[in-house]
């Protein structure tokens, strides 16, 4: 928040301010924070009042594997998004021509298209009657490896789905880097890569942090893509929650897992908030 400006024009009365913010704050508290409280409550009361669900989650090796797999997958997806997104955002931010507009449109198209639609595309591509399989048959390589319903397809799908978030986070910061800094570095004798490494890269790091935090936390609890593309053998947290509810109707245990997921997310974002301030995360 910037310093308060324009004192005297509009009343500084706190009452006015509270009336203005009340509808939104009441909505969020009553319709969001209270329901989250229900999840917490359910996790220690369903079916009986106890901490058994948490004890079970933290002692059974299967669930530890799910946690490890979730964090590992999220890390891979985040790094893949960064590797793919950095050059894309760099070119978008540094150019001012038709190409930059086309790239922005491509990112916008995928950003605004729903997760289900984009996940569906991968079901076709990686399916056993899809283009990859057709290429294998055409080239005479025999039957293709099992691609769909593996942790590979789930990781690939999530990278595709979350990439626009990374690109926009990077782009938001890179766009504000004054191009004259790079020209200054080059006119002082830096080679293009040197100018990039010593000037642009450090200035873009805020975007890298934003993009990584955003993608990693989104990935931790990601629901649609792992369920449609992944395998129950290498479950992520969201798949475990879905399985507990749909197959076993174990709402209490599912809620406990959800609380653990929420706690992980909050710890990560809490660290970010301490260093950067949370409302910068979305640019």
């Amino acid at each position: 928040m910037p310093a308060f400006r324009g004192a005297g024009l509009i009343s500084r009365d706190s009452l006015t301010a509270w009336l203005l913010v009340a509808p939104a704050v009441v909505c969020v508290v009553v319709l969001f924070i209270v329901p989250i409280g229900y999840v917490l409550l359910l996790s220690v009361t369903d079916p009986t009042v106890s901490l058994d669900h948490y004890r079970r989650f933290f002692t059974v090796p299967l669930y530890a594997n799910v946690m490890v797999n979730t964090f590992r997958t999220s890390l891979i997806v985040t790094l893949a998004c960064l590797a793919l997104g950095y050059p894309l955002a760099y070119v978008m931010a540094r150019r001012d021509d038709a190409l930059a507009v086309i790239l922005l449109a491509a990112v916008g198209l995928s950003f605004w298209t729903g997760f289900v639609v984009r996940t569906y595309a991968w079901l076709i591509i990686l399916g056993n009657k899809g283009p990859v399989a057709a290429t294998y048959a055409f080239a005479g390589w025999g039957s293709p490896p099992q691609l769909l319903f593996t942790s590979f397809s789930s990781t690939l799908g999530m990278t595709h789905v979350l990439l626009p978030y990374m690109v926009l986070a990077l782009y938001g910061v890179m766009r504000k880097i004054d191009p004259s800094y790079m020209r200054a570095a080059e006119s002082l004798g830096a080679r293009p890569f040197g100018a990039f490494r010593l000037v642009f890269l450090p200035l873009s790091l805020a975007g890298v942090v934003n993009g990584c935090v955003l993608v990693f936390t989104m990935c931790l609890g990601f629901y649609v893509t792992p369920i449609l593309l992944g395998t129950p053998k290498d479950m992520m947290i969201s798949q475990l929650i879905s399985q507990q509810i749909e197959d076993l109707l174990a709402w209490g245990f599912a809620s406990a897992i959800a609380v653990v997921l929420l706690a992980c997310t909050l710890v990560l974002l809490g660290i970010y908030n301490r260093f950067a301030g949370l409302d910068r995360l979305w640019g």
């Binding site: 301010a17 924070i33 605004w112 298209t113 729903g114 899809g130 649609v224 709402w251």
Partner: protein
């Protein structure tokens, strides 16, 4: 040569983003019953099926009703809140500012579980009202951030000029403040609409049969029966987004800064 490395990498990333979505278009005209590519033959039969299917059309209508409703509710809540936070100082401001962001911090599965257990005793699961409430709370933070950003960039001297020229507070607000803020508000509204329109997880948990939206119906069709109409719906949705993106590029020039 080295100069072109970023460009080539950027183009590859852009192709990775867009190319998979392009495959949906031929699939929607395919005669195949399951996911088969390249298609064995082409027809428009599944388009006819979509436009004559009661359940798909109902899901489409639900999506529009719920997205419009939650867009309206989101604006009603977020717009005054943005004014409150940007233009006033009050007790508890920094805490409440964090509270406003909570709905986008919490993973969707967790919110969905919460909504289900909170809305079912109120008999709001499987209703449009329940979906609109749930989706608008999820959209409030984003609309709030967008409108707040627009409001922070607003030059208060414009209002002072209007007031010193004799306009009252209401007139100033309607004729000076709102027109300048309109792009920010429109973007906030668009975010809210599309967020609801695309949202799947909360819908899967609480929309039930009667308020089922397109993403929920698609998700379930993909899991259960692989209805080829999914390709038609996907193509129509992607086409609509593409149209919107192209329009936005033609209508307004690149904004000066974000």
């Amino acid at each position: 040569m080295v100069r072109y490395v970023p460009l080539v990498l950027a183009l590859l990333a852009a192709i990775f983003l867009v190319a998979p979505m392009a495959i949906i278009v031929p699939m929607s005209f395919s005669k195949a019953i399951s996911f088969e590519f390249p298609p064995p033959g082409y027809w428009t039969g599944y388009y006819a099926q979509y436009f004559s299917s009661h359940s798909w059309l109902e899901a489409t209508a639900n999506s529009f009703i719920i997205a419009s409703g939650s867009m309206a509710l989101t604006l009603i809540a977020a717009l005054p809140a943005a004014f409150g936070f940007v233009r006033h100082r009050f007790y508890g401001k920094s805490v409440l500012n964090l509270v406003m962001l909570v709905p986008i911090i919490v993973p969707a599965v967790v919110s969905a579980l919460g909504y289900y257990s909170f809305l079912s005793p109120l008999r709001l699961v499987g209703t449009h009202a329940g979906m609109i409430l749930a989706h608008s709370v999820l959209s409030i933070p984003v609309a709030f951030l967008v409108i707040t950003a627009a409001l922070k960039g607003f030059d208060r001297n414009l209002e002072r000029a209007a007031m010193s020229a004799g306009a009252g507070p209401l007139r100033t607000f309607l004729w000076v403040t709102m027109p300048v803020l309109r792009p920010g508000i429109l973007i906030g509204a668009l975010f809210a609409f599309l967020h609801s329109f695309n949202e799947a997880v909360v819908a899967i948990f609480i929309a039930g049969r009667d308020a089922s939206t397109l993403p929920k119906k698609m998700f379930e069709s993909i899991r259960l029966e692989s209805d080829p109409v999914i390709a038609v719906v996907s193509t129509l949705l992607t086409g609509a987004v593409l149209l919107g993106v192209l329009l936005s590029l033609f209508v307004r020039k690149r904004p000066a800064s974000r």
